[in-house]
Structure formats: structure tokens, C-alpha cells
């Protein structure tokens, strides 16, 4: 088993919490992981990326080889496109559709979506909207993990266990709402792929 995942977003969106959840699920299965991130200047509202690698054998490089990523998991649609050179031709794009427009020259959103739709293997999901409906705007990241769950190489239950562990200190309510968010994402992706 090997999964190379590009996590993308804008500084402050919380891609590291996604890495933490998936990483935890991997550790619970005793898999090897490597997760590279960049701190400092880039975290100030700029583009941020993390390379998450999971494998049952030894992982050498901290960086994913361009053309070899199994997935781009992105909190922001424009950021999804920035990392396309990393994606393997059979890889998946799981992207939030909600734009983060902190730049004056943000491209036409439809054009951005069209670029994503060019890939057969994609799920475009408004994770923010779904999270808001659950009264849990901070759980958009969990919605997104849900949407990715089918292609991460884990059983949904294994990821739920990781979420439970990750949020256990914050109380049962927080755990439940995050698991709910995860399930909504999972269900959405199932329908999306059928359509």
C-alpha cells in the first residue's frame, strides 16, 4: 500500500489538521508516514502545501515525485490547480469549491472549475457550505476528508476512529459534529461519482 497525497490550501486554512487526521489513521494501522510542510513567510495568507506520504514499506523522499501523486486534496479550488504537475494520470482530485479570494486578480471561478472537471477522477465539493449547514463552519476540513475517504486506502471506520481520537480532548459534542461532517462528505462523494 502506498498513498502520496498533496494537501493544498491557503495559509491559515488548516491543511495541517487534515494531515494530522490522515496521519493518525495511518499510525493506528502501523503504516510508515512522512509529511513535509513549509513554515514561516508562506503561512501569511499565501499558498501552502504539504506532502503527505503513507506506505507499508520504507519511504525515502520527504517530497512527492511530480507525476506520482495519488491525490490532490485541496481546501481551495485555485490552489488545486497549482499542484497538477504532481498528479499521476490515474490520481484523484478532491477539491473544495469555495474560493478564498484574498488576491485582486483571482481568475474567473468557472474557468477554475472547468480545469478541475477536465479530470475524470475528481470530486468538487462545497465543504464550507456543508459544514455551515451542520452549524460547524470549522469542520469543513472533515467534510473534505470524507469526500476523499474512498480513495485514501482506509476503511471509513478507521478514519472515524482517528477523528474521534484527534478531537477527544475537546468533548463528545465536538467529536460528533466532526464525525457527522466526515459522513456528509463521504455521502456527497458517493453521489457525485454516480452522477
Amino acid at each position: 500500500m502506498k498513498k502520496d497525497i498533496i494537501l493544498a490550501g491557503v495559509g491559515g486554512q488548516g491543511i495541517l489538521s487534515i494531515a494530522a487526521t490522515i496521519g493518525l489513521a495511518a499510525i493506528k494501522k502501523n503504516l510508515n508516514i512522512k509529511q513535509a510542510e513549509v513554515h514561516g513567510m508562506s503561512q501569511r495568507g499565501g499558498e501552502v502545501v504539504s506532502h503527505l506520504r503513507i506506505s507499508d514499506s520504507q519511504i525515502f523522499s520527504d517530497l512527492i515525485t511530480k507525476g506520482q501523486a495519488d491525490m490532490i486534496l485541496s481546501l481551495e479550488p485555485l490552489e488545486t490547480l497549482r499542484y497538477l504537475p504532481y498528479l499521476h494520470e490515474s490520481g484523484w482530485i478532491i477539491s473544495n469549491s469555495e474560493p478564498y479570494t484574498n488576491i485582486p486578480n483571482y481568475p474567473d471561478l468557472e474557468l477554475v472549475y472547468n480545469e478541475i472537471r477536465k479530470y475524470k477522477n475528481h470530486v468538487l465539493i462545497n465543504a464550507d457550505e456543508i459544514a455551515k449547514k451542520l452549524n460547524a463552519p470549522l469542520s469543513a476540513n472533515m467534510v473534505l476528508i470524507g469526500a476523499a475517504a474512498h480513495y485514501l486506502g482506509f476503511e471509513p471506520q478507521e478514519i472515524e476512529d482517528a477523528i474521534r481520537e484527534q478531537f477527544s480532548k475537546k468533548g463528545e459534542d465536538i467529536v460528533n459534529v466532526n464525525i457527522q461532517a466526515f459522513r456528509e462528505g463521504l455521502a456527497f462523494a458517493k453521489e457525485y461519482i454516480k452522477a
Binding site: 512522512k34 514561516g40 499565501g46 499558498e47 515525485t65 507525476g67 485555485l78 504537475p85 504532481y86 484574498n102
Partner: protein, 539 residues
């Protein structure tokens, strides 16, 4: 994960290794990508229980000096900084090789090729060579742990400090790390030779001679180091030397099954015998290293002919930026199939000030106060506020090194520029700005120094600032006229008032210091969240 396996950043692995190796004192000034080393030591319960001193210092020079002092009394010590920090600390660092180490001493340099968060991409292995001390260059997080642990032993074996060099991808990547049983800390034991640390010329010559005399033994140590590995391969058409993290990129391409012989180098001085063995076996020798062509250049000094050596100097690999598996694949002539190109509609998303940041209001006021003058007169410094260079502010005209803003503005005013403005953060000011301000005071230079006081070291994640609550007394103590030390509150609704203050000081023919004071929104939010949490827990 097994109980003694932890998921750690490379930085954290180094910190945990220091704890386990019996470190007693850790000192650092924050700097990406090194900051998490001391943060981990400060936050570690284990370090606290063991009474380990872990402190932020005013700058990297005082950090290295502190480490020399801790080592002098026989304790183990570690000091950490980003690559450019070693420039600041160079005086202390180079001389520490002459004084030698009594307790084990490790200097960690976290280099930043590709300049993710830096002003240059200097390769500090050159400093290790310059100082004539061993350099350790781990290739992954486990080695970061193992080599830090080993580094203390090496330091105490040869009684010299060790340079531990990591790069961004080792520092800021997380992996499972096995840790060792902890060693006890050293007891205080002063050097047996009480003149060892007195670098008077006559004594320094003896120390230099001693340092030179151990060089062959250091090379020998590298030849036999468990971290320098010769991995044989059947195909001798190519031989590969890969150092530090570059080794991972090579192995990633071969997935552990290398057809060519590979020499992995993680300990310096370079193992000359191992290199010669490889050189004599192969048709082409490719050198792959993260940073400058350090090994590649050294090969010319002891190979009788280096005609078959290829690397960054010959253009096989790029001189600029960090390596990655794709660059290495190309250099080795391996297939390299990248994904689709980035669509042309994609635009850059540069970093920007956080919403609500006090620097926004400070720069708006400064820009307006300066609008009647020609552009190009604001010398700035290194920190979040350097983002004042970006639109819509475009408020600053320089960013060179820590503290340069004040010295540059002073000299510009010496040359006749009026007004000349320096913009510097509170932490940068106490790092290296105070001496420049003293120069300005001594010559009564007509400059306006704006110390942006957000009460933290913001860019590196909000570490405490030595300037905290001390700026006015520092400036007064350095001799700035108290009437021209003006504190303003950078807020939208104080804009006109602030513009007026800046205008008045721009017109003053002497040293003025304006201190816009408002807490960093990131640390404020963090503090509020913690307070809220505390309240909740007390219910």
C-alpha cells in the same frame, strides 16, 4: 507505533535527541526553519522535569556564546539557528573551534535552499569547513535524532563543537522516530587547563595548532562513521555521491534497488578513502548535494584528476533552489514523467498581512506622512513587516540583514538624504538594531526610526520578544531624546493623529524613535483562545 517511536518533525527529533543525550542548556534565536527545536525543548515536560535550561536569546551570537559558557563548565549544550543566523554568530562560532568544547556542544544550522522564508540560500557546510570542525548532515528525521545523539559523543571525544546541518525538508517534515534510553546530564567540571578558553595570540596559536593536529583523526572518524555508507552496485558506468537529504531523492528513484554504487555522505570532513575507492571504480562520478557544490568543489583538492566528476559545477544539476526527486531523476537519466502543466489561468498568491495586523495601519500612516517627499527613503528590516514591500503598500525600499535598517538610514542621512526612515520590528531591534541606533545617537543623525512593536517575534510563529516592555527605556538609555520617543497606537481611527506624529518627527533634525504599539493579532487570538479554554475548564 511502538512505545519508543514518536511522530516528530526533524527539528523536534533533534530536540528530543538532545534531551535523551543529557543536554543541560539549549539556546536559540527563532528563525525558519530552525525555530521548532527550541520550542520543543521549552514545551517538553521531560525537559522541564530534568531541569534543562531552554531559553530564547537576543540573537544568534549571544546564543552561541551562551553555549560556549555552558560547555566551559562541562555541561552538554545545544544551540540552534537558521542559516543566516550563523553569519551573526560567526565570530563566536569560529573561535569556539579554537577554545574547544569541555561539555559536548552542538551548533545546529537549518539551511533554507529555495529561500522559502529567507534572504539567501547559503550552504553552511562551508562554515563547518572554515571552522575545521566535523559537520553532521542527516538525511532523514531518524538520522537527525541519531546524529544529534551521536554528535554529543563526538564533541566530547574530540573536545570540539560539532556543526549539525539540516535543510528545510528535514527540519519541517514529520516521520516516525525511534528514541534511545536517556543518558544522565554531566556534572559541573571546569576545564583542567584554565587557560584553554583565553584566546590571547600566544595561547590561540597553541589552540590552532591543536585543532589542526586532530584533523587526520576527524577524517578517520568520517571514514568509519556509521552514517557514511558505501552501497555497492553492479553497474560501474556511474558512481553516485549523495549527501544529506539528496540521498533520499536518489533512493526514491531507485526504490531501494540501486544499480550503481552509491556513497552516502552524512559526516564531514569528507571521507577521502571512500571517495577514492568509488572514483577508481566508475566511469562517471555524479555528486548530488542539497545546497552549494560543497563536496564537488572539495573533490578537486585531492583527486589527481577530476575529469569524470559531474554535478552542479558542470551543469548536470541546477545551482539554484532545492533538489527534488524529479531533478535527481533527470540528472541520473531516469524516466521522469510529470503530471499536466499548471493551467495558464493560475496566478500566484503571495503572502500578505493577516487581517487586522497592526503593520497595515502603521504603513498606511507612514505612506501618507511621506507622500510629499519623493519615494525610496524607507529602509526596512527582516520580519512580517517586510511584507510592506508588497502592494498595495509598497512602503519599504530595503531588507538586507537583521538590524540593517537603522545603520543604512543613518548613513543615507550622512550622505544628505532628508528624511531618511528606518522601519524595524521590536524583536529585530533587540536582535541587532540597538547598536545601529547607538551609532545614530552618537552622531545625532537626522533619522526617523519606527520600531513596530507587536510584542512578539511574529514571522517565526510568535515567540516572546526580548524587547517586551523595554523599548522606551532601551532607547532612552542609548541616548535618544525622550521628547522624540513617540508611542502611537496603530489603529484606523487614530490614522490622522499618527500621520501627524510621523510628520513632526520626519521634520526633526535629530534621532527620533516612533513606536507603533499593538499586539500581533495571531498571538492575541492565541491568548484569547487559551483564556476562553481556561474559563471553560474552571466552570
Amino acid at each position: 507505533m511502538t512505545p519508543n517511536k514518536l511522530l516528530l518533525l526533524g527539528d523536534e527529533a533533534i530536540a528530543q535527541a538532545a534531551i535523551d543525550a543529557g543536554v543541560s542548556g539549549a539556546y536559540a534565536y527563532p528563525g525558519t526553519p530552525s525555530s521548532e527545536i527550541l520550542e520543543y525543548l521549552i514545551d517538553s515536560k521531560e525537559a522541564k522535569q530534568k531541569g534543562i535550561i531552554a531559553q530564547w536569546t537576543a540573537n544568534e551570537k549571544t546564543a552561541v556564546e551562551a553555549a560556549i559558557g555552558a560547555s566551559y563548565v562541562g555541561k552538554r549544550t545545544i544551540v540552534a539557528m537558521k542559516h543566516v543566523g550563523l553569519n551573526v554568530a560567526a565570530d563566536a562560532f569560529i573561535n569556539s573551534a579554537l577554545t574547544g568544547a569541555n561539555g559536548g556542544m552542538i551548533v545546529v544550522t537549518a539551511d533554507d535552499p529555495s529561500m522559502h522564508s529567507s534572504q539567501n540560500e547559503q550552504d553552511n557546510r562551508f562554515y563547518g569547513d572554515f571552522a575545521h570542525i566535523p559537520i553532521l548532515e542527516p538525511s532523514n528525521q531518524q538520522e537527525a535524532y541519531d546524529m544529534c545523539f551521536y554528535g554529543f559523543q563526538l564533541s566530547e571525544k574530540f573536545h570540539i563543537p560539532i556543526l549539525l546541518r539540516i535543510t528545510t525538508r528535514v527540519a519541517h517534515s514529520r516521520a516516525g522516530v525511534l528514541h534511545k534510553d536517556p543518558l544522565p546530564q554531566n556534572q559541573i567540571s571546569l576545564p583542567t587547563d584554565l587557560k584553554q578558553y583565553i584566546l590571547l595570540p600566544a595561547l590561540a596559536r597553541k589552540r590552532w595548532s591543536k585543532l589542526l593536529s586532530i584533523q587526520p583523526a576527524l577524517i578517520d572518524e568520517s571514514e568509519n562513521s556509521p552514517f557514511n555508507k558505501f552501497i555497492d552496485g553492479n553497474d560501474k558506468s556511474i558512481g553516485i555521491i549523495a549527501s544529506g537529504i539528496a540521498f533520499n531523492y536518489v533512493m526514491e528513484n531507485f526504490q531501494g534497488a540501486n544499480p550503481y554504487p552509491i556513497l552516502k555522505i552524512s559526516q564531514y570532513p569528507i571521507p577521502e578513502k571512500l571517495i577514492k575507492k568509488l572514483y577508481n571504480e566508475v566511469d562517471r562520478l555524479i555528486v548530488i548535494e542539497e545546497g552549494y557544490p560543497f563536496i564537488e568543489k572539495m573533490l578537486t583538492s585531492f583527486l589527481c584528476d577530476n575529469l569524470k566528476v559531474e554535478g552542479k559545477l558542470t551543469g548536470l544539476l541546477p545551482r539554484e533552489g532545492e533538489l527534488n526527486p524529479n531533478i535527481v531523476a533527470q540528472a541520473l537519466g531516469l524516466p521522469n514523467i510529470e503530471g499536466k502543466d499548471v493551467p495558464s489561468i493560475v496566478v500566484a498568491r503571495p503572502p500578505s498581512f493577516c487581517p487586522g495586523c497592526s503593520h497595515i495601519d502603521s504603513y498606511n500612516a507612514l505612506n501618507e506622512a511621506l507622500k510629499d517627499y519623493s519615494k525610496g527613503r524607507v529602509f526596512s528590516d527582516i520580519g512580517c513587516y517586510t511584507l510592506g514591500a508588497t502592494p498595495p503598500f509598497e512602503a519599504i525600499n530595503s531588507c538586507v540583514d537583521m538590524g540593517a535598517s537603522i545603520s543604512m538610514a543613518k548613513a543615507a542621512s550622512d550622505m544628505g538624504l532628508r528624511p531618511a526612515v528606518a522601519v524595524i520590528g521590536d524583536s529585530t531591534f533587540t536582535h541587532s538594531g540597538m547598536t545601529g541606533l547607538l551609532d545614530a545617537v552618537v552622531y545625532n543623525a537626522p533619522i526617523t526610526v519606527i520600531i513596530l512593536d507587536n510584542s512578539t517575534t511574529g514571522m517565526t510563529g510568535g515567540q516572546p520578544s526580548h524587547a517586551n516592555q523595554r523599548l522606551v527605556s532601551i532607547c532612552t538609555g542609548l541616548g535618544v531624546n525622550p521628547e522624540h520617543i513617540r508611542i502611537i497606537k496603530p489603529l484606523k481611527n487614530r490614522h490622522q493623529e499618527n500621520v501627524q506624529v510621523i510628520k513632526e518627527e520626519l521634520a526633526y533634525e535629530g534621532v527620533s524613535v516612533i513606536i507603533p504599539t499593538r499586539e500581533c493579532v495571531q498571538t492575541l487570538n492565541r491568548r484569547m483562545r487559551a483564556k476562553f479554554k481556561e474559563k471553560g475548564e474552571n466552570k
